[in-house]
Symmetry: C2
Subunit: 208 residues, 2 copies
């Protein structure tokens, strides 16, 4: 078994943080090469994205949350996807919102504004995808709205999906730190996000 990551990227970090919370160690290879992925990795992986988990039978599992679910099924404690139906649903809901409304929005700003990603406006494509400057402004709006919604949720609950730390917190933390790199972290008026961030960023697993 091997986990393929791209050093500084937020999506592989979601998996590494999940594994750290579970106390699991998995052989890991960084297949990043600057702003590109190594050719050998791209040739072997039809999905052209990290993270990617390769099982011993050769099965390739992509998508951060799919890899996390693989390990959750084998190592259910501590549960990071919920215990009962309602918890499970709320965690799934908030994890997806953090990914789609937060992480993808920060990525939209990043991908469409950084010179190193010219003609790579979308990840995972083997053909050129031009940057779209209008997505930078739209992405900034999305990020602002996302952190506003997150602040409202965290005003009511200690963690993103309720009373317990979950994968929703992992995706939200990786989104926050990615936003910080791009200059889009929420300002001090998001007091509930700030309280939550201080708490979650102090977990040992965040040191990945």
């Amino acid at each position: 078994m091997k986990l393929y990551i791209w050093g500084p990227a937020p999506n592989p970090r979601r998996v590494r943080m999940f594994l750290a919370e579970k106390g699991l160690e998995v052989p890991t290879e960084d297949v990043g090469a600057g702003a590109l992925l190594k050719r050998e990795f791209l040739e072997r992986s039809p999905h052209r994205l990290t993270p990617m988990l390769e099982l011993d039978d050769g099965t390739l599992i992509g998508e951060a949350m799919a890899i996390c679910r693989y390990f959750e099924a084998l190592h259910p404690e501590p549960p990071l996807f919920g215990r009962d139906a309602k918890q499970t649903a709320l965690i799934e809901m908030w994890e997806r919102k953090c990914e789609q409304e937060g992480l993808l929005a920060v990525g939209e700003v990043f991908r469409n504004s950084i010179p190193a990603f010219a003609d790579r406006g979308l990840g995972g494509f083997s053909v050129p995808v031009p940057q779209i400057p209008a997505l930078v402004e739209r992405g900034k709006l999305r990020v602002r709205v996302f952190f506003g919604n997150l602040d409202a949720q965290l005003a009511q609950h200690p963690f993103v999906a309720g009373d317990a730390f979950s994968v929703a917190d992992i995706t939200a933390l990786c989104t926050y730190d990615f936003a910080k790199r791009v200059g889009l972290a929420p300002d001090a008026s998001a007091v509930h996000v700030a309280r939550w961030y201080a708490q979650v960023a102090a977990r040992p697993s965040a040191n990945t």
Copy 2:
């Protein structure tokens, strides 16, 4: 308990198809009003999106797959999210790919080209979001690449995530039919998609 849907929209359809596969009936209300959602629904739902499941204790669960997981936890048979770790991971991976690379891409074309969605380039926003014409062409590329990848996968497997029907097939079918409405269904060269579509669209659950 009540499920809020928007008649013709693909995301609520994913939930309705899932419930039909499980043989479950849930009180349902269509909160669509032409190309808008009803004001009463928007005032009650901070997420401003359908589908939305309201539990008897007032909890609101958004995101199609979160609602499906709620019912999967309460009614595990037949399993539509997988039985073992590997199946679970592959279904999660393909379901997310179908949503992000397929359904969201078709939605990108639809939202950014239809006059009824002027200033509503993204769903769920209470502020105007201008359409971005460049996303129409980019979205068409994404849809073509998605159906190409899906065809390659279905050349190897009877169903989207392997040997058994799963939520990945539900999202893929709703994506296909949405693409057909927008004129983006794959052409006849995608023979494996065509074989799969004929089979899955014939399931009684697809009649929703």
